[in-house]
Amino acid sequence: MSFKPLMLAAALFALPIAVFAQGGGEAKDNTMAEIEKYREMLAGDNPAELYEAKGEEIWKRKAGPKDASLEKCDLGLGPGVVKGAYAQMPRYFADVNRVQDLESRLVHCMVTLQGFKAEDLTKEPFDTDDRKTDLNALVAYVVGASKGMTINPPLKHPQEKEMAELGKRIFFYRAGPYDFSCATCHAENGRRIRLQDLPNLTTHIGSQRAYGSWPAYRISEGLFRSMQWRINDCFRQQRFPEPQFGSDTVTALLLFLASNAAGGKYDGPGFKR
């Protein structure tokens, strides 16, 4: 049997169970209480910090054919401003005349400022055990610089408003051999898949807890995972084909989640099972 990393299915965003625990027998409550204890003991010392430190170094280091750093990269709050930028994404960028999420924007900066080729960066964008990408470490660094801030995507530009609306429709699109949409698992309160609680992403609280604690270091893989990866793996478990990296479909879903989570606290990068 070949080895495959264990992925949780549609259990996309882990939440503290106490909030969502329902009745259903003492055994179950006890199980959930112990798992909550497990999570408490894990708090702090998040290996994502190792990626944040590396990402900061990569951000400041000169690299690429143009031998430039990313310190002039505009993440929406002006060239070089990292602090708080992620909390206000995805957003419309006039220089490309489209809405971008963090990863699309980082690729844009690595291409325009450093001279990398977009296809080289996006061909295999996700970390594996023996291949860690600069892009992924940069994600950790940038999201870490929004920790504790309020999730506040602008949602003012017509393209931003439309993308959030499109994301909502994609969220409810049922297809594939299992008839699954995102909503199949993430549109009701208090549901679990196996032991994994499923946030209701159509509510503010559910979205805030989920969107607000991703990207994250995932224990089951021992790797730091970005939002593009997160959505990609959702679709895998929905039994869909693969969404293209940085595609509008992914950006639209992220903006839909960010708009539901808006006003809540960003508390990532997270630490997930």
Binding site: M1, M41, L195, Q196, G222
Partner: protein
């Protein structure tokens, strides 16, 4: 969880790979390291062998040795534990995961004022006892705690 169970229980290739590493001479102890890595103890495939390799004999059950760990681990790849000894003159603390393919996880020599309390994160391939042995004044004291490992996600 299946991943980890497979990872820990499948195959016997580890000893081979390790032997190769040893043969290649990459295990030279650096200056900073006082003791050589205890190969006999770490390579032992069962708890008795690991205890023997670590030189543990006649360990007495003791309430003064404690293990703080969740009763249920959401993911066996990372199980947070805190181990401590209140036995006076504790000089060493060892942690064993009884059902892992190689049970000895770590051994801590405490020197120059370090308190007999250490926290760490261990892998558990399946539900198992965690066994902690403290060495104090040449004698061994022990306790154990079971941690259940659950199946998470949907195995896809």
């Amino acid at each position: 969880m299946d991943k980890l169970r497979r990872m820990l229980l499948k195959g016997t290739g580890a000893s081979g790979a390790l032997a190769a590493a040893l043969a290649a001479g990459v295990l030279k102890p650096g200056q900073v390291f006082a003791a050589d890595w205890n190969k006999a103890a770490f390579d032992a495939k069962d708890i008795d062998g690991a205890l023997k390799g670590a030189g543990v004999s006649g360990a007495a059950d003791s309430k003064d040795v404690t293990i703080k760990a969740p009763d249920i681990a959401e993911n066996g790849a990372v199980v947070p534990i805190e181990v401590a000894s209140n036995v006076p003159k504790t000089q060493q603390i060892m942690v064993f995961i009884e059902k892992n393919p190689t049970p000895l996880a770590a051994s801590f020599d405490l020197q120059n004022g370090t308190e007999p309390s250490v926290s760490l994160r261990v892998k558990m391939g399946q539900t198992s006892n965690i066994k902690v042995v403290a060495k104090a004044d040449g004698k061994f004291y022990t306790t154990a705690k079971e941690v259940k490992v659950t199946i998470g996600g949907c195995g896809g």
